[in-house]
């Protein structure tokens, strides 16, 4: 009698069990929202003398630059996976390097456009001009862009070798970066060892440096930028090597032909 209703429940259950990343809708996404806003609440409650509005605007703009750049790199592969025409993109003269560079450049251009729009809206609505950060803003965002490309390539590597279930990492990682890199709060408020972990991520240093450059926090801007660039470079080099290895692995196991 209820089979026709159970059919839909069965489908949902099987899809979720076979694709553990779907469970992120039950656990990770709600936790991301709760933790980021909860910790932000703690930060406000602590009675900070920093300007919370400008503090958050810097975090949000940098985080968006990350998300847009990462999206460009991951969607470069996802379009092929969704449309089931991946194999065609591995023929012709185009190389892995061409693909990385082309998708990254698209990410760079689109994130610059988004930043300029956000900067204009921020100036208009909140009277805060993030562009006064100048060179540290450019270097900080460049580092975040490099890191976004790295994470994008790592996700693409997993999708290529393990299947499209791993595509949910595209959205999950942006949430995780939001929590760990202190978009809404200073990372010092995070409990150990999450705080120490956050120092391994370039956006943490870029956000701090840009906040320093606009006078919201006191920090050694140059040192933060150096940390950020060094970490991003390490991430980028390792992720390119891993991606190239994954393409070969995909040719070995045949996963290049799954999509």
């Amino acid at each position: 009698m209820f089979e026709t209703i159970f059919a839909h429940i069965y489908k949902q259950y099987k899809k979720n069990v076979k694709n553990p990343s779907d469970l992120s809708w039950i656990l990770l996404y709600p936790l991301t929202g709760l933790l980021s806003l909860g910790i932000f609440g703690l930060f406000i409650q602590s009675g900070t003398d920093m300007n919370p509005l400008n503090f958050i605007i810097v975090g949000v703009i940098v985080w968006n630059a990350y998300a847009i750049s990462q999206k460009a790199v991951t969607y470069g592969l996802s379009y092929d996976v969704w449309d089931e025409c991946l194999r065609h993109s591995f023929l012709g003269k185009s190389t892995d390097e061409d693909s990385i560079l082309g998708n990254s450049l698209f990410g760079l251009v689109t994130s610059i456009i988004a930043i300029l729009i956000l900067a204009a809206v921020t100036q208009l609505l909140f009277g805060f001009n993030i562009l006064v950060a100048g060179i540290p803003l450019v270097i900080g965002l460049l580092s975040v862009f490099m890191f976004a490309v790295s994470i994008g390539l790592l996700i693409n590597s997993l999708v290529l070798t393990k299947g499209h279930e791993w595509m949910s990492l595209i959205w999950m990682t942006t949430g995780m970066i939001m929590i760990i890199s202190g978009v809404y709060y200073p990372v010092e408020i995070l409990p150990s060892p999450v705080r120490e972990l956050s120092y391994l991520f370039p956006p943490t240093h870029s956000i701090t440096a840009i906040r320093g450059a606009v006078g919201i926090v006191e920090t050694n801007i140059n040192l933060e930028l150096v940390y950020s660039i060094i970490l991003s470079t390490i991430f980028l080099v390792l992720s390119i090597l891993y991606y190239k290895k994954s393409v070969r692995k995909a040719r070995e196991i045949g996963s290049l032909l799954w999509f």
Binding site: D83, R87, L91, G92, R248, R251, L256, L257
Partner: protein, 313 residues
Amino acid sequence: MFAVETDNITKVYGAKKTRIEALKGVSIKIKQNQIYGLLGPNGAGKTTLINVLSTLLLPTSGKASVLGFDVLKQEKEIRRRIGLCYGASRFYWNFDAYENLNYYGMMHGMNGEKRKKKIDQLIEELDMKSFAKVRTSQLSTGMRQKIAIAKSLLNDPELIFMDEPTIGLDVDVSREVRKYLKELVKEKGVTILLTSHNMYEIEMMCENIALINKGKIIKEGNLNEIKSKLNFPDRISFQLSSYENIDFIKNISGFRKMKMSGNRLAVDFYSAEEIISDLMQEMKNRNIKVLDLEIKKASLEEAFLKIVGESNV
């Protein structure tokens, strides 16, 4: 130089429990400037072999070269020189045919003017004008298949892998495509490795073929030779004015056997085409009138079923 040369290629998927041997020591040599047929049932290993040769899949062991380049070490050289057309190919669904071809032209490094010229030429030659600006998601399987064929020809490839290229096409369009591919081989000297379930198609297009079953090449060579070796001769059935003194037929090259069937004489030859004029001349010399004549060619399908049956034992 061979267009394709493989030496004992194997491809194994999965681990111990899920182990699948898709190719079991495939060795073939395909000369240039021809349409070479690869025929086999579903799951025989045809597509796996094409995937290995087009460098999208690495073999587990063995050696293979395509146009003189090693599939393991020189994939970039191979990829820029080949075309690949799969049956029931998919493309970016919200691009139209032109946009899809434009993208793949760029992937081949073709500059704007050259790319546009080539796409326009293919759209014209493959009769795609009516749907070139329609979203791919709205196209029929046959129309999408034409995009796949056009895509495989974009870079003027020296070698084209065609995996069931006429699947989904109606009879007339299939005939057009076959004609187009034959002309391509004749006029531009390209080589085509064609897989098909359609034995008629293979018979119409290929001079040389390989039969593959369960990951192994079970027969390779000239299509007519394969048919004759398998003892599937052509049959010439006569109605003659006289059936006396007809033993001379046994001395004609390629003779297999003859028997009377009702009022007709049935004679089996390896290749009826090659001897028919000599046979008719001999009949005339002996004043034997041919009242009726019928030739039944041995079909590849019969040969194929026999070979596959034997290889399954």
